[in-house]
Symmetry: C3
Subunit: 315 residues, 3 copies
Amino acid sequence: MSEHKWQRGDLLGVAELSTEEIVHVLDTAESFVEVAARPIKKVPTLRGKTVINLFFEASTRTRSSFEIAEKRLSADNVNFSTSGSSLSKGETLLDTTRNLEAMAPDLVVIRHAHPRVPHGLAERVGAGVVNAGDGAHEHPTQALLDAFTIRRHKGRVEGLRVAIVGDVAHSRVVRSNVLCLRKLGAEVTIAGPRTMMPEQPEALGARVAWSLEEAIAGADVIMMLRVQLERQARASFPSEREYFEFFGLTAGRLQAAADDAIIMHPGPMNRGIEIASEVADGPWSVILEQVANGVAVRMAVLYLLAGVKSGEGSA
Amino acid sequence: MSEHKWQRGDLLGVAELSTEEIVHVLDTAESFVEVAARPIKKVPTLRGKTVINLFFEASTRTRSSFEIAEKRLSADNVNFSTSGSSLSKGETLLDTTRNLEAMAPDLVVIRHAHPRVPHGLAERVGAGVVNAGDGAHEHPTQALLDAFTIRRHKGRVEGLRVAIVGDVAHSRVVRSNVLCLRKLGAEVTIAGPRTMMPEQPEALGARVAWSLEEAIAGADVIMMLRVQLERQARASFPSEREYFEFFGLTAGRLQAAADDAIIMHPGPMNRGIEIASEVADGPWSVILEQVANGVAVRMAVLYLLAGVKSGEGSA
Amino acid sequence: MSEHKWQRGDLLGVAELSTEEIVHVLDTAESFVEVAARPIKKVPTLRGKTVINLFFEASTRTRSSFEIAEKRLSADNVNFSTSGSSLSKGETLLDTTRNLEAMAPDLVVIRHAHPRVPHGLAERVGAGVVNAGDGAHEHPTQALLDAFTIRRHKGRVEGLRVAIVGDVAHSRVVRSNVLCLRKLGAEVTIAGPRTMMPEQPEALGARVAWSLEEAIAGADVIMMLRVQLERQARASFPSEREYFEFFGLTAGRLQAAADDAIIMHPGPMNRGIEIASEVADGPWSVILEQVANGVAVRMAVLYLLAGVKSGEGSA
């Protein structure tokens, strides 16, 4: 276990985290992995703590992962989603949040379509804030669970070659992942169709490749990104077939990667677009382990933040 | 209490259940009935177990009945409904479920518009699966709670004459009920307007009648089916008034049944269409007892399945 | 603590409450305020009790306040909202509620657009019923939390001058507040634009003023009402700017009130319409304390009602 003493009350992005802090989260998550395998999947750690899940965008997997993490920590949780909220009554986001805050939650987990909304909230409220995705900006718990999954499989992250491939421009997860993997010492390459890459891809801090083949050559880890069919990306690529032809990961193409390469995907997957089913379901795939590890990593994050915030109070 | 040792990890349909298994569920439910009457309506049986309620169709009563059963068993539960789920992002049902599965639930309660979706899932996931209604195919917990209600009132099911009347073709509950009641030894008659009967009604395994009067003559139990006004049935009957005239259960018509006949309805009721208020609210009605018994029967099912699945783990 | 012995099983409106009962709720709430400041924000008081939250209208703040109150009392709660309920299947409200009732809840918290729906339910069901707002009729827990907030700040309610200003005709909270404050001995003045006042404003039992200035002159407490932009009120006022000009509370106008006047608002606020941000966020504002106190007052109400209803049973 890390010697680092955790002192951060919010988890807003990987950008703010030191390497030591990232390692501290991963080490803490190790101790929560086995909770899911127990007959009684529950620890009393956050008993009597109130966690508010404030989702301004729909998300089955992230919300449910947090919810399960909260319940296994014995927290009391309350869910909010846009529909049915005061936001539809013209209230400002800040007022909605201040009101939730006045109910003295210990932690608020927030997803919002706009970058840095969680950061703004964290400045103004006493509860610990967890960013569960702010547009295409950061999604730190995803990056942490990905790093955790890699470390469990490879024993380390440092020195590994990681390729992140696909709809880089619209991805919710790529920025946090590049930051996290680089802080842990990995060599990261990003690649995608030109129409789905940001204006200045180098700004993300990774090596840039322009083809799937180039990106995954010799890679130890391949993360395939979801094509965001429901966002503006729709206009950016000619057809699903063409996308798959150039950027879909197949068993054949996988030959170029390291023999023991692992395949990751943040989900939900578009089978036959960014990834072939033979790969998604194949022996290289650790996609479902990512999901399982997500619960453990979120338990670790909630546990660490609550330890800092408790005692502050907010009523 | 039954001598039978419960070994089934999923409850998918009544079709698979032996008579012994049905009796085992009913006997177990007896012990849960009194929990609802206690000052503290809670037993620690499923403490630390995770139950996911996966409802792809809206359902107040079934979902809430399961939710209350889960909470009274001290389980941790998480709800999903179609809106807000990844399914709207084009993910396959199987991927959504595998993802939920990766979060290591002990049990998944699923309702879906298509037949046998729960069966397909049960083959692929480690958690215990409870079918909470798969289209017009099976709705086993409804059949079990109906049988339980009959047995509590009549002391037995064997030899009773049961009439099931109404929109047989579109009913979610008729198939499971016929199977369950027949396995328990009842004589079952089904009846409904010709446009609301299946192509081959005999295939359901019950006696077929073509009028309400014929169906309920001498019946010990009358189950009225809900007219599914919101489904395709709308086109199948000429008017609500005409339906009520021929197939609505009134106090007058009830004279033809046995003197101590009980009246059942799976809800939600269309008063003045399939059932008159004087019958729904009359002394013969056990409709609200069905609802109350539903919680006890679902507690029994969840308890029995969890006992088989625990130890397997799935993380 | 009050000498009064609590004997009421439902909280339907302030109209039915005696002064002694109101004081009893406020005194009880005092003991729950500190729960929110504890590291473990939870008491075992309602362990094993089932509470159903039945919201036929959307409400972030009221529903969440009740949910948090229920969880901090260790109750098991189940949420219903209109969408996804059997009501969309044509079931009557009474049948929906009877069905919920059959599941043996101890308490039902109900919000509905129509006046006296909670009263009708309370007559027919065994569970304790809490009115969480029935149209523009009563919203008793809001009035109680407002009185509680005033008493905490001023040490008393008796003899205080309270101004309630704004969209009186469409307000969910004004009727309950006038009743509650008058029973506690305050002098209450209501004011609003003519188009937003009821036909016979005197019938509310308060002094009537026709300008903001007149209403707040010398006031110890100013409650600003939300302009119900989403209801029929829309047609009643010419423009947001004009509303603010005549009935918006600004720091300048506040000079006319008592030096130590406090500002209240039931939320959600329309900043720049009925209240200026400088006032909403200023030192006079107790708006967020209202929210915090709401949890304590609702804990008190649920606790008191459950004490009366427990033992009755309803299964």
